[in-house]
Symmetry: C2
Amino acid sequence: MKILMITEDRNDDSEVLYPLYRMLEEGFEVDVAALTKKAVQSKYHFTVDANKTVAECHSSDYDGLILPGGSAPEKLRLSQDALRLTKEIFEAEKPVCAICHGPQLLISAGVLKGKKATCYPGIADDLKNAGALYEDSPVVVDGNLVTSRRPQDLPYWMREFVKLFH
Amino acid sequence: MKILMITEDRNDDSEVLYPLYRMLEEGFEVDVAALTKKAVQSKYHFTVDANKTVAECHSSDYDGLILPGGSAPEKLRLSQDALRLTKEIFEAEKPVCAICHGPQLLISAGVLKGKKATCYPGIADDLKNAGALYEDSPVVVDGNLVTSRRPQDLPYWMREFVKLFH
């Protein structure tokens, strides 16, 4: 399996590290895409190498998508390439997971109408306004979509995401 | 399953977060023990609540042991309670994993003689002097013991540790 993670500077460190390591533990390959190829600087300390730009990625190359949170999604939702990848992977019904502010990309990609989902409480109204059926739960699964609220939900988020591949 | 993690201030954030979340993902219960009950402050940003002191823990309550790295093990190896727990859980042949500087606790607990193990390169000589058969590999498994070198090895470390419970 080959998974795409889309993130940028000022992501939440744990929301990048946990799913990245978890996918590698699973034996999956992971591409990390940002607006430019660089060492992506998380909010607190850690960096992760973006080996791809969102512009050069093709959704057909990937079996799943990970959207970590932090302030990164607010920057990424302005990128047509980030939205294209999100929309295409979502609509191909491949597993997509987003946590915390990650669902901002799902909102801007216009894929949430009628879907059960959760997110960071501070953007819950935006999720509802985008047509999602918001639930305040550690993890919400609707078909190929797995969403969570915050770093403390990471174990439950990844448990459900990994299940979709088995 | 109930797992004990022993750590202290100035651990490596990722070496605490990844195994802690990974155990919760697995559905295991985790007690975090430190010298005192407190919010244990990792090196860079994150904290984890120590809900136990090493003094009050009984090894018989646990099915496995996790020893993260950072500067914490140098402090913990001076605690007879931390060494008692390490030795007792190891000698009961329950799964024990240590990463980076975590093996300093295994050295001081005197359990490494003749065991294949790895650790952070800067303490490899200490591991050898303690009688371990040192290997420079991302993960080394010898019976109930799973050791790794550094944060980048976390996926392979946890993959092998989780296997021991199945």
